[in-house]
Subunit: 382 residues, 2 copies
Amino acid sequence: MAGATSAGIKYPIGQRYDLGILLSTKSCVTAGAFTTNKVKAAPVLLCKERLKRGGIRAIVMNSGCANACTGQQGMADAQEMTELAAKNIGIKKEEVLVASTGVIGTMLPMERIRAALPKVMFSPGGGHDLARAIMTTDRVPKEVAVKTDDFTIGGILKGSGMLHPDMATLLCFLTTDAPVEPNFLRQALKESAAISFNMLTVDGDSSTNDSLIIIANGVTGGETIRVGSHKARAFQQALDKVCIYLAKEAARDGEGATKLIEVRVSGAVTLHEAQIAARTIAGSSLVKTAVYGADPNWGRILAAAGRSGANMEEGKAELHLGETSVVKDGTPVKFDKESVVNYLKGNEINIRLNLHLGRGEATAWGCDMTEEYVKINAEYTT
Amino acid sequence: MAGATSAGIKYPIGQRYDLGILLSTKSCVTAGAFTTNKVKAAPVLLCKERLKRGGIRAIVMNSGCANACTGQQGMADAQEMTELAAKNIGIKKEEVLVASTGVIGTMLPMERIRAALPKVMFSPGGGHDLARAIMTTDRVPKEVAVKTDDFTIGGILKGSGMLHPDMATLLCFLTTDAPVEPNFLRQALKESAAISFNMLTVDGDSSTNDSLIIIANGVTGGETIRVGSHKARAFQQALDKVCIYLAKEAARDGEGATKLIEVRVSGAVTLHEAQIAARTIAGSSLVKTAVYGADPNWGRILAAAGRSGANMEEGKAELHLGETSVVKDGTPVKFDKESVVNYLKGNEINIRLNLHLGRGEATAWGCDMTEEYVKINAEYTT
């Protein structure tokens, strides 16, 4: 269940949801991954502590203020948010996690949060409102559910800027009714994050508030899924699907973006090299602006791969923009410029680079860079 | 001496200088640093080879085409450029270096270069034209000279985009009349580059063509300057001055930029950590857009430092924007927002972060990110 309300944290009260709670009907097995930024917001520090003890039932979350770089007061405020949420639900504060997103370096308006939190009402369909309550510069709420014969995995995500893969990115909350063993859940989340959120970049900046949390309440019953269980693979596949879907939606909704960019690198010496090459290409400002301008300036793609740290032999590289081959054996292929320009005018752009050196393969997602990105971020707090 | 002409490489012939030669009256001691990008343009490969043998007298250079990702034909064209230049001057092609900048993945228009190169005329003041001939998206030519009692060091530089520190950046050609020992020159260039070009970022992309070359013809005569010579320090200081001036000018003239950003990080555990923190802040899209918008959103500066890899204890960080303290002991300081906004509306912005952990200190330079940057790079080849 979930619910959200408008507390007036950044925008006038009543204008948009900015505060909400995700609630499980019973205590959950949980796993989480958090920002690797040395500057960690108070809610991140509190979550890490509470996840060690386990027994989580709820997550309270807000947008409009990141509660980061806020010192001891920030930590006291994060604590109080979980206390207020716990009181509303009738559970203990230690059973509540907390997440915040928004401006760094401002204090939470606690009077408004104190007034608003008791108003949060819960319903099974409340996740739709909650997905809205965590939006900052997102244009659309991002939610998904994958249902198998045995269980369901659902998720909401926010994330549009300050978005660059580093163990976890953005705020993402996943739920499942599957019965899972804690170590298996941690491992499964790590594996899914590695091929989804960690392969996502919008602008190269990693947030102070990144939090990826999954809570599993096991209400479907049945045998507990653990490493090697016959349902472990189905669970991993469903979780991968959920995470990849949400990661792609985050890239598609990147700040100011008009296009989703998918970069597939194959033939790298190792998986890691494929990953860094794909992420570097997806993150290159010059690739992103060229895609925005529908400019088939493929040299920027090779230049980005060349600085990624991945091994590369220029004479072996093969590059496709969509279905069109533009480089083979490291040298330019004559192609119909007009048709490639038309392809680049679409809203999903596929870049495929084969390094022809080994078996490493990886896919990364990003978006184009537009004047609108600059506008959004030049005017963020003023 | 130097000279330039209009070959019509990218723009119609006669519209702008795009081809030129730097010439020493006698054979030079040389040192160079080149891109660490795995994709290296043909001129870079040729320079590296020729610098091993030494005995350089000239550098031929063009803008409008990078001669990168051009395979064997590209290497043959680079060779021919040095041959044509050598013929014009009346020296051997092995005495000539070559540098190109512009679009990656297109072939040099050799007929036009063959027609134009013999027209290059030399004069002692020809460096001004040469500085123009290597401009791409640069708005202004960049040149400097530092004169001491004993010698002069001069330089020209181009660089506005695809600019990110990585051993060497952009095209930069330095000359001096000082008599120098080769190992000393190499060492001195490395030291100067470390605190100038390698601390410069415009957009995070490292070029395939980065070339930093110094040629020293020793015509002032006198004792050869070597490590430990009494003039070694004066030479290093003059070279530092030249390199830092040119690096700052490159940042100031970054694509679409309206402001120069100088980031000074002190109190880092090591010099290296100060460098990565300063460069990460200067390179952050979110910091760059906030500066553009004169938005005192300082949380982005701490967030960038926090992801840089440098050690950081949030509770110790101290941050100044210009002369205004905005963070002390890791927590927000109340400041007059209007005066900081006014400061950020200026065209030179100083960011000073003291981590209060050790003695590492470094300065990096960058520029703001504007809609114009996007515009320039969305429309680069189309």
